[in-house]
């Protein structure tokens, strides 16, 4: 049997759907990929938080260093971004559960939900920063 290799000269490099270079960005797609980005990026905040907690358990010297980093401008930045990432991922998860139940899949509703996630996550982050 003849095998068709990927390096075959007859193979034509056709663009793959969905043609990302010419595809108009859509709110539903952007909010979806942000869910993945926020979820995975949260590991940075988790590492800092667990280091801080482990340092508190171990010794004064370890805690002094971890606490200094966690409460520096860098720590503030990481935890503020993490708070937004948590809230964004949280709302995205709720939307996912709503979608999974078979609701909100028409375009107008999906776009309203997308705006709800963007605005809602910012509002919740500001509230978190004020309360905590």
């Amino acid at each position: 049997m003849a095998e068709v290799k990927s390096s075959s000269p007859r193979r034509v490099e056709r663009p793959l759907s969905p043609h990302l270079q010419i595809y108009r960005p859509q709110l539903t797609a952007i909010t979806s990929v942000l869910t993945r980005i926020t979820g995975n990026a949260l590991i940075v905040g988790v590492v800092l938080a667990v280091w801080w907690l482990a340092a508190a358990a171990i010794s004064d010297d370890a805690f002094a260093l971890a606490n200094a980093v966690s409460t520096s401008w860098f720590g503030d930045l990481v935890f503020l971004c993490s708070a937004w990432a948590v809230w964004y991922h949280y709302l995205a998860g709720l939307r996912h559960l709503y979608f999974d139940a078979g609701h909100g899949l028409d375009i107008p509703t999906a776009e309203k939900l997308a705006w709800g996630m963007i605005i809602g996550s910012v509002v919740l982050t500001v509230l978190t920063a004020i309360i905590v």
Partner: protein, 123 residues
Amino acid sequence: MRYLTPRKRAIGKGSAHTGTHHHWSMTMSSVALAFMVPTWMYLFGSALGQSRVDVVAAFSHPFTAILTALILVIGMRHFAMGATMMIEDYSRGTARKVLVMFVTALATVIAATGLYALIRIAL
């Protein structure tokens, strides 16, 4: 004549070969985390920036200690499975296997470190 039912022939043929198990695990852990994370964020945020004595006192409280332990275990499992899904979408072959091992190990080490800290603080 086909002796196998359509269901029997379909089982294991999905892209993941485990049916909806992954999806259902993520759904269950997401609901669990949705109930726990806002409270934990408040407790963590309140303890952050305080002295070591106050931090140890805060995480010695049974509610805070148990909530933190649950979030570490369920959250890191949720992360490992979600990150695995991302890796499986964007990489293949040996790189995929190594990356899946890496994120699984990372999540496990973080959970173990956090639990160790909690045991030393709370017990």
